[in-house]
């Protein structure tokens, strides 16, 4: 258990560093900003209690906010994602349900399942994020366009990141 927790914290720090030191400086044609850090929230264990999920979402968001000077924006989007995650997992649940101790990763449920899960979750997260960032519904088409483009890039980065960490079999 301690070992798993340690692994999560290490994972968390590496992903956050990649996000703030590299990806935040990536200005792809003006408005594409991949937010790889959501992978931290997406790969938490399936049975994680709700309150802990919400807390993890908020803290991760606040750390990203600190680097981007956007207090509350990523924190609220992180909480929103943490809230929706159990519903996405229920929607995508295998017929026989989840085995105890399973992780929502490609090594547990396959690549296609993971892709669907990430796509759904990242789109919801980015849509919420960009609406909050603009704080009005003025340029809704622009916001949606931004969401779609950034979602594609974030999903791409998450899939690539999973190739590096996906080689090991079940963590438990």
């Amino acid at each position: 258990m301690i070992n798993t927790l340690g692994k999560y914290i290490f994972h968390f720090i590496v992903i956050i560093l990649i996000q703030v030191l590299i990806l935040n400086n990536l200005n792809l044609s003006g408005y594409i900003n991949p937010f790889l850090y959501v992978i931290v929230l997406l790969t938490l264990p399936v049975e994680m209690p709700g309150w802990l999920l919400l807390l993890a979402g908020m803290i991760t968001g606040l750390i990203i906010d600190a680097f981007l000077n956007t207090i509350g924006v990523h924190a609220s989007a992180g909480v929103f994602l943490a809230y929706l995650r159990p519903y996405f997992l229920r929607y995508l649940a295998p017929r026989e349900g989840y085995e105890p101790g399973s992780l929502p990763t490609p090594s547990h449920f396959g690549f296609v399942w993971f892709f669907k899960y990430v796509l759904l979750a990242v789109f919801a997260h980015h849509l919420f994020l960009f609406i909050i960032e603009v704080f009005t519904f003025e340029g809704i088409l622009r916001t949606i366009w931004k969401t779609i483009v950034s979602t594609i890039f974030t999903v791409g980065f998450i899939m690539i990141a999973q190739l590096f960490s996906g080689s090991k079999k079940k963590a438990f």
Binding site: N27, W51, F67, I71
Partner: protein
């Protein structure tokens, strides 16, 4: 047992069951309320918060990533510095032709002394959000305070918002909250410059009256009416414009002279005699 007791007991039990049933939703709303409290507090009251990029831990991380970027952009930084050198050389008193109008030249140089410039390096910057900020590696130790202007060799950049001992964050011109008084350099008609959030290369100048002579390519500079920026700092050039028939004002699209994607060295401007003007103006607002 009396039916009333069972009933109220039942309501109580149902209520508790309701709370338990939807506890995740309530928790979610609680967390979101807190986040929105932070968000609104920060964006609308401009309050000092602990969590921003002039904070010590965050800023030192940004400086590490900044040093990597320095190597990549050394060439551009050199160009920028030599451009600034050239600019400064033209301002050496010997180079100002003071034969024709000696008095005017004297006045101008007097005016320049009111402002103090401090060089700083950009360690974090963004261009593609609705609210863009710049982090500079100089802070209150070096004499920087909130509400000072930030310029680069190419023109206007932003305004300092938060200051910590070693770092400061500035709101970029590319920020929905940024407004500055700007004028046409050739005719002195002035208006308000804002960013419309669309492109990092353009901003919108409004409130220029319809009878002002406007043509594409004209330079837009700061008006000097605020206590933040000196007069005549370049902002950009007119790209296109349209006259609103009903209102009689131009809406002018300005091509910004500063390349915000490649910002390395900036100067923070302090108007040393600005305090008196600000106090006087505040007096008017309070009446």
């Amino acid at each position: 047992m009396a039916p009333g007791v069972t009933n109220s007991f039942g309501i109580m039990r149902n209520f508790i069951r309701f709370i338990i049933r939807y506890h995740f939703l309530f928790l979610f709303l609680l967390f979101e309320t807190f986040c929105f409290y932070l968000l609104i507090n920060y964006n609308h009251r401009h309050q000092e918060t602990f969590i921003n990029s002039s904070g010590k831990v965050v800023a030192s991380f940004l400086e590490i990533s900044g040093t990597f970027k320095d190597y990549v952009s050394l060439r551009r930084a050199n160009e920028e510095l030599s451009r600034e050198n050239a600019l400064l050389r033209t301002q050496i008193p010997e180079n100002i032709p003071s034969i024709s109008e000696p008095k005017l030249a004297r006045q101008e140089s007097d005016d320049l002394f009111i402002y103090q410039y401090r060089a700083g390096k950009v360690i974090n910057n963004s261009v593609h959000r609705a609210h863009n900020f710049i982090t500079i590696n100089k802070g209150s130790k070096h004499g920087i305070a909130p509400e000072m202007g930030v310029i680069s060799a190419r023109g206007l950049v932003g305004i300092v918002r938060h200051v910590s001992p070693n770092y400061s964050t500035a709101i970029s011109l590319l920020n929905n909250q940024f407004r500055v008084s700007a004028k046409l350099r050739d005719s002195n008609y002035f208006g308000v410059l804002e960013w419309d959030g669309k492109s990092y290369q353009h901003a919108i100048l409004t409130e220029i009256p319809g009878h002002a002579p406007v043509s594409t390519g004209d330079a837009i500079v700061t008006s000097g009416y605020s206590t933040i920026f000196p007069e005549g700092i370049l902002i950009g050039t007119i790209e296109d414009y349209q006259l609103h028939q009903g209102e009689g004002f131009y809406e002018i699209r300005v091509k910004l002279s500063v390349d915000f994607k490649n910002l390395t060295y900036v100067e923070v401007v302090e108007k040393t005699s600005g305090e008196e003007q600000k106090q006087l103006e505040n007096l008017m607002q309070n009446d």
